[in-house]
Symmetry: D2
């Protein structure tokens, strides 16, 4: 293998640039020529491909977003798009590919793998919902962004004795809600992976107010329901409460990556190069119990399942009263 390429796909995540930098630099260090593909699979099919030098990725390690741009491109689910993509890669003499993204992006990587093109998946999404890894690139930054926002809300919540519902991202995963709920001392955390009883929550809020609690903060994972829906349901239990909803939205996707995300992304990127150097494709990298690992990507997607650490859920119940 002499030439390899890298693309980012799906929702962007802070740290993707650090991964790109590591892939390009480590790739060059190992003797590869490295190409960047703009706009994910869409750019792959369109041939929006260019050679990257070590200098091209200078000073990007701390930038949010992705310098290769990203796009959702459902058309890549079709065989035709996939073959067109491989054609483009061959035209440039590229023999290996690294795909940074979420599970939608992994699907494309699986397709290329099945068509015989060596592809390595790198988990990049703030949602932390990819099987085969304990943490994804972007998750640590996202939880710190959410944390800061809730810290701000707490100022105003304390000043007014209010209840705040904070709707956070995570798609079907509750990781962001769990970590930020504990991190901000939220009274309630509501996630898809654990049941909850609205009446208990309503009771707890009333109780807290009676006991002089200055505020109640409820962190709600978007996968359960919207903040507006939750507010409406809660109002039936507690019509007096002054409840506000904040939807943090796309702010959670941006920002300079944290130290963890930069280091994790750099390690993932370097690992992807190590694998391609040994002609290993059809895999995805990850971190498991602190160790950088890799797994068969087809198997991971088919049989793997990300489960958040539910001990954190129990812990919060015990220390947030």
């Amino acid at each position: 293998m002499k030439r390899i390429a890298v693309l980012t796909s799906g929702g962007d995540a802070p740290g993707m640039n650090a991964a790109i930098r590591a892939i390009v630099r480590k790739g060059i260090y190992e003797g590869f020529e490295v190409y960047g593909i703009n706009y994910g699979y869409a750019g792959l099919v369109a041939g929006d491909i260019r050679r990257l030098s070590a200098e091209d990725v200078g000073d990007i390690v701390g930038r949010g977003g992705t310098c290769l741009y990203s796009a959702r491109y459902p058309e890549f689910a079709n065989r035709e798009g996939q073959e067109k993509g491989i054609e483009q890669l061959k035209k440039f003499g590229i023999e290996g590919l690294v795909v940074i993204g979420g599970d939608g992006s992994y699907q494309g990587a699986v397709a290329l793998t099945k068509l015989g093109f060596p592809t390595v998946g790198v988990p990049g999404t703030i949602d932390n919902d990819i099987p085969g890894t304990d943490y994804t690139i972007g998750f640590d930054t996202a939880i710190n962004t959410v944390l800061e926002s809730i810290d701000r809300l707490r100022d105003t919540a304390s000043s007014h004795m209010r209840t705040f519902i904070v709707e956070v991202m995570g798609r079907n995963a509750g990781d962001i809600a769990l970590w930020t709920g504990i991190g901000t001392g939220a009274e309630q955390i509501i996630i898809p992976e654990h049941g909850f009883h609205l009446d208990e929550i309503g009771e707890a809020i009333k109780e807290g107010r009676k006991n002089g609690k200055k505020h109640t903060i409820i962190v709600l994972a978007e996968g359960v329901m919207t903040g507006a829906e939750l507010k409406e349901e809660l109002c039936q239990f507690d019509p007096e409460s002054d409840t506000r909803v904040t939807v943090l939205g796309h702010v959670q996707r941006g920002g300079a990556p944290t130290a963890r995300d930069r280091v994790l992304a750099s390690r993932f990127g370097a690992k992807a190069i190590d694998l391609l150097k040994e002609d290993i494709g059809g895999v995805c990298v990850g971190i498991r119990n602190g160790e950088i690992i890799y797994n068969d990507i087809v198997d991971t997607l088919e049989n793997g399942k990300h489960v958040p650490n539910l001990d954190l859920y129990t812990l919060n119940k015990e220390i947030s009263f």
Copy 2:
């Protein structure tokens, strides 16, 4: 005058604590005994009042929110509530009052003034919409909070070639939108104080996309319409565009105050004490062209009007293409 008191009222704003600290410390320095009233006018009427020492306001200069808590209390519009309030003040031997808050809070200060109780208003609100001052406590922090959020959105907007509508606070004032629009290089700023044509904005977005602009950011003051409404209207001009709405919400009210807000609040607080020391009540402090000033509070509320610097609006048109 020997004893004075301070309260915060209405929406909280970062820097209110710095103002409280200055009032308490400078008050003590000038020989006053200083009392704090919790929960604004509600606490005033209820007699929720306590003596404050210099130490009580130690280490609060950098904290968001207000350590005296705040509350909206529409009942204070009635003569009965006002008289009850004055009764409470007299019970504690308090002869002068400083009220930190927005224009709702000023209404209460006017009422007390008309009933003969020496009251000084200090403008505290993130909206920057109080007559009689160029800047209010909290505005500088709020625009920096919004700036950071839009900087984050830009990462993800650039990565995906998206249009982002960012709805910011400000009630009927466009100051937050104006300053943050220029500060983030937003393509469009929409404020209540200036007309706009939806079709021009729609055209500009299309044009920008054609010219390769990576993203379009529209900063929308909440006083014009909601972000969701704007999105719907824009979609008619440009159904293809990938437009997202972010409502920054109460996050804008919190956070550690900026240097400007801490210094401004300290100066306002000290000025209020200077005024009470000279037995001057029925006024509100402000900053005008860099100078700390004060005005008759009745006149200010009746005849004053805050107007944002519309040169900034023109400036943005000239440099955001």
Copy 3:
């Protein structure tokens, strides 16, 4: 065991408050009465001890420093001080103790353990140099603080084509330097755990300048030498270079803790309570490969040794050219 106590000792670290909160809340949840000891071992000997309620630790989860204050107290190395400490604990009816701090603090915990008083150590220090755990409370916050500072330096370094030596904390450990070096794309990382050749570094800087590198950043662990010393030595190889030294200093110890540190501290604190509930003392908690663990504290101090992940050192060599 009915009554337990907690103290913080040695250098403070962001997240200590989150640990205190978890110990108090979880302690109460499990039926303990929980006491706080001010000023570490000094306060223990002096009997500066008070009961803590769940409310007392409200709103501290996000605050830097330690609400129990800390102090260095070398006198606690003497048997006399230790016995006086136990006497005080008994006076209050306290039967178990949690000590949050670095290895100096662990020494005190070992002493109490040897005298038969059930003590649990919780690793809190920004230096990440405690045996028996992969991460300490405060490390994650510290590396993010350093990261932000170096990101700022890079702005000015790039603008002027300068070499910056950044001296970071860590005592005899290179963890802070390693993580932040990778996180900021530093050209050079110098740590106590790995040899280095000044002439190679000097050559690399010259080479980089010749190749148009806009700046060189050297992250230096304080355990190796001071920044001023390194500058002097480098000047002999490269008298032309415009080299600046920045000593980040105590800024690294402060600030609101990151999400990781808050969650880690909460988990450590809860684990300490679990152990005391089972009458287990003479141990220290930690995190190993993502799992919360505990070890014999005497054995850990005598035979344990923290070693940073030197793969990161190698990685940096491969991607920082």
Copy 4:
């Protein structure tokens, strides 16, 4: 005038990029062709000059440093260098120049003005020490950076009952020290523009400790003496005190500019274009009492003098006990 150019010179300051953006965009808007000169006067003499498009300055409004790079170039004090510079400008057909920088940079602008080349100075330096303006580009960002650092130090100072001396930048001006001293509630502010008595400061620290003050923070402007020197002198009055020195250093120069700095820089840049459009050179822009103004640059440098607002000094004495 058809073609104009812009350069940044001297120490870089956050917001310079926002000024460059405004100059380029507003310049193009007004019909100019705009050129950028790299590395200040050094690049001018060397002819390191390139045309800039509106797109070239996209997405820089929020970046620290200067995308045109900066350099100190004492050789420009000589007539020879100046004539060489004008020659280069003529070679490119450039008829007007905007210089962003501190007073060293203004000297060059004066020289070009005296040789008949229309030059406009824009005040850019974190030190806020330029005559002819109340505020310079970068000052607001720098004080917020310092503020955040002192807020962090306070965490650790409070935890340990320490005295911290914080040496801040400002060259011969005390503005940074004044604003951040008030903003952080520092017990002492020492600036070049106001006398001070070491024994009074020493006494105050002792007194504070006796009264239970958790910490003492002294903000020291670098123009007075170094932090190490102050520590030594203070130790003679108070040998017991645990005093630490932090030199914030170049970190103060970097970082994403604040909202104020971005808006101020944009306004300054636009004003410079307005002036060149009217063929006005030999001037420098500024802000005075909230209004954007301009002055004769020769007169400003010869007769102007920046004086900080010493009311702030008095204020701090009254509220920091």
